[in-house]
Symmetry: C2
Subunit: 421 residues, 2 copies
Amino acid sequence: MTDEARLAKSASHKMATLDSGVKNKALEAIAKALKKESAKIFEANGEDLKNDCPDTLRKRLKFGEDKLKDVTDGIKSLINLPEPVGRTNLHTTLDDGLELYRVTCPIGVIGVIFESRPDALVQIASLCLKSGNAVLLKGGSEALNTNKALAEVIYNAGVKAGLPDGWLYLMTTREDVNEMLGLNSYIDLIIPRGSNEFVQYIMQHTSIPVLGHADGVCHTYINEFCDPQLALKVALDAKTQYVSVCNCTETIIVDRALESTLLQQLVIELAKANVKIYGDDYMADRFNCERVGNWHCEYLDYKVSIKIVDGIDEAIDHINTYGSGHTDAIITENKELAEKFMQSVDSASVMVNCSTRFADGFRYGFGAEVGISTSKIHARGPVGLEGLLSYKYRLIGHGDIVADYAQGRKQFKHISRSITE
Amino acid sequence: MTDEARLAKSASHKMATLDSGVKNKALEAIAKALKKESAKIFEANGEDLKNDCPDTLRKRLKFGEDKLKDVTDGIKSLINLPEPVGRTNLHTTLDDGLELYRVTCPIGVIGVIFESRPDALVQIASLCLKSGNAVLLKGGSEALNTNKALAEVIYNAGVKAGLPDGWLYLMTTREDVNEMLGLNSYIDLIIPRGSNEFVQYIMQHTSIPVLGHADGVCHTYINEFCDPQLALKVALDAKTQYVSVCNCTETIIVDRALESTLLQQLVIELAKANVKIYGDDYMADRFNCERVGNWHCEYLDYKVSIKIVDGIDEAIDHINTYGSGHTDAIITENKELAEKFMQSVDSASVMVNCSTRFADGFRYGFGAEVGISTSKIHARGPVGLEGLLSYKYRLIGHGDIVADYAQGRKQFKHISRSITE
C-alpha cells in the first residue's frame, strides 16, 4: 500500500495542475469506455451476484443497463459543472503591487471506503477527478469482481486521456485499508461510509482527517403550535419513508400540550405503519409501550423513541444531549420558535415543517454526494464537490520585503477587492 | 476538566444564539474592564517577571501600558467587524416553498494552547467571543499570574454583559491539557501554538480535530529568469528579517544557470548577515560549507540550506518532498513559470517575487490571527475569524415529505438563488 499511496501523492500534484479541458475529456472518455466495456462489467457483476445474499443487498449489488445509464448520466452532469479548481474567493491588495488571492485547489489524495454499491465507485472516482484529487478506493467485498472491472476500465480510460499514472487505485483487502490508515504523509483525507461501528473504527484508528458520520440519531420535534395534520404527515414520512438510512427520524419529541390530541393520533398512525414505539415514563404508563433504554439509539428499523417535553427548551436540550448532530426538524407554525430551534440545535441540518429524510446531497441539489459529515470542521452536512476542495493563498509582489513594514518605511493598505469571475 | 468542558459545551449552545449587540457590548465591557483593572493586571505581570528568564522571553512576557493599548485597540477593531455568524452563503429553492439555506455558525468549544504571551490570551478570547464560540485557554506557565488576572477580568466582564456561565475557562496545569485531549464529546477543535515537538505531541494524542502547524520549512526558489537584485533582497529578508518564526525561509533553491553569477553574490550577502550555509554536494565542494544533514530542517536561526537544481521541476519536487506545506516563494520574471510554481507547490501560501515572511494573519489583513494551519482540511494558511466558524443547512418547508419525490409525484427544481446580504 505504501508504494501505491506514494504514487497517488505524486499523481495528486499533477492532477492539481490539469486544466478543465483535460479533466472533462477524461470524464468523457471514462463514460464512453464504461459503455464500450459494459459486457465485461456485467459479466463481473454476474460473478458477484452468484453468491448468496439477502434481497436488499442484491438490489444494491446489481449493476445492469439502468445503473450504467445512471452513472454515465452522472458523469455527463459533472462535465457540465463549472471548473471547481482555481476559483478566487478572496482578493486583497496588501499594498501597491502586492496582491493576495485565495484560490481553490484540490485536497490531494482522498481515501474512500464505501458500501457494496458498484455505482458508488463510479460516482466517487468521477467526483475526485473533477475536483483534481487522486483517489484510493475500497468497496464492499461482495462487489469485488464488479469493482475490479469498473476500476480497471476507469483507470485506463483516464490515463489514456492524459491523467497521471496512479491517479486511482482500488484496494481489495481489509489489510490494505488498515495499512492506509497509517499513511499520514501520503493521504490527506479519509471518507468512510458504512455502519456506525465501521466508521467509529476508522475514526479511532487513524490520525488522518476523517470526513463522515458514525450515526444519525435524527429528531422530529412536534411543537404545540403546529398544524397537526402537517405534523403527522411529516413525522410519518421522516420515520417510515425508508427506515434503514441515516437521515430517518429515530426519536419523535412531542409537546405535553398535545397529549390528548395529536399524540393519540400519532400513536395510532405509527401502529398502522407497523412502527414499534419505545417511550419515556409517561408514554410507557399511558400507552403501555416499552421504555427507551438509550436515547442515543439509531434503530434503522420500524422502531421509534417518543419523548414528551414541556416546551421547546427541553426539546433543544434533549436533541443537543442525545442527538448525533446530523439532522433535526421542528414542526411549528410559530416563526420565532422555528428560528430559535434552528439557531440552538447544533446539527448539520436543521429543518422546519419538513421531513428529515431531505438531508441528502442529491435532494439538496449538489449533483452528487461523497458522504454526510457531522464534523464541524471542514465540510458539514451532505458533501458534494466542494468538500473535496481546499484553498491556497497566492501572494504576488515585485520584490516586497517585510523589513520595510517592520521598520515603518511602508504601511499596509489592505484594500478588499470584489471578486469578478 | 470534564466539568468545565461540559459547562463550556452548554455555554457554547447559548453563545451560538447571541445577537451581534450582546457580543459587541460584551467586547466593549471587556475592553473597559481591562483598563479599569490594569493596576491589578500589571501587578500580576510583575510577579511573572520576577523569575529569571532570557531577554527574548522577557519581552514577550511583559504586559504593560503599550500591550494593554494594543489589545484594547484590537478589541475595538473586532467590534467594528461585521457579524460573522448567521451569514447565508448558499440559497437554493429545492421546490416551490421548500427553501435551503447554508448559514454560518460557531464551531462550539475551542481549546487553545498558546505560548507565553499574555496579549495572545486577550486576542484569542475576543476572537472566540466575536465568533460565538466558548473557549478553554492554556497559556505558557511563565505567564501564569498575568493570565489568571486577565482571564478573571475578561470572564467576569463578559458574564456581567450577558455571556453565559462557563463561556471562558483558563486551564492552569499540564494535566488539564492532557485531560482536555480526551474530551471529544465536549471539545470541537484544538488550536495548539508553540514548538514543533509540542504541536506534534498534541496532534498525536487526541482524536479531536487540530488546527495548526508543526513546523515551517519554507523555501525561496530563485529561478534563472529572475531579476538578480530583487532576488537577493527578497531572499535575504525571507531568511534574516526575523529568524525564529515559522514563515522565515529555511532553504534557498537556486537554478544551476545562476551558478557563476547570482549564487556567488548570495553566498557573500548571507555571510555578511552572519548566516551559516549548509549545502548540497555542489555547494560543499565549491564553497567548502557543511553538507545538509536533513532537508526537512527548521533551523529558526541564522542558518540556511542551499540546493542547486536543474530548473523548476526539480525545485517543485524538492519543495513538495521536503517542505512542510507552509509557505514557499519563487523569484522569477517569467509569468508562466510563476503560474506553474503556484499551481504545483502544495503549500498553504505560494508567493511570487516577495518574502515568505508575509505569510501572517495581520499582514494578510485578517485583523487578528489564531494560528497558521498547514492542514488542507478546514481553514488553511493564516487563520482569522473565519477559521472559527462552521455552517449549518437550514431547510424550511410547508409539510414537505420525501415520499412525494421518491414516488414521482413531485420533481425537485433546484433553483440556485443569489445571496443578497
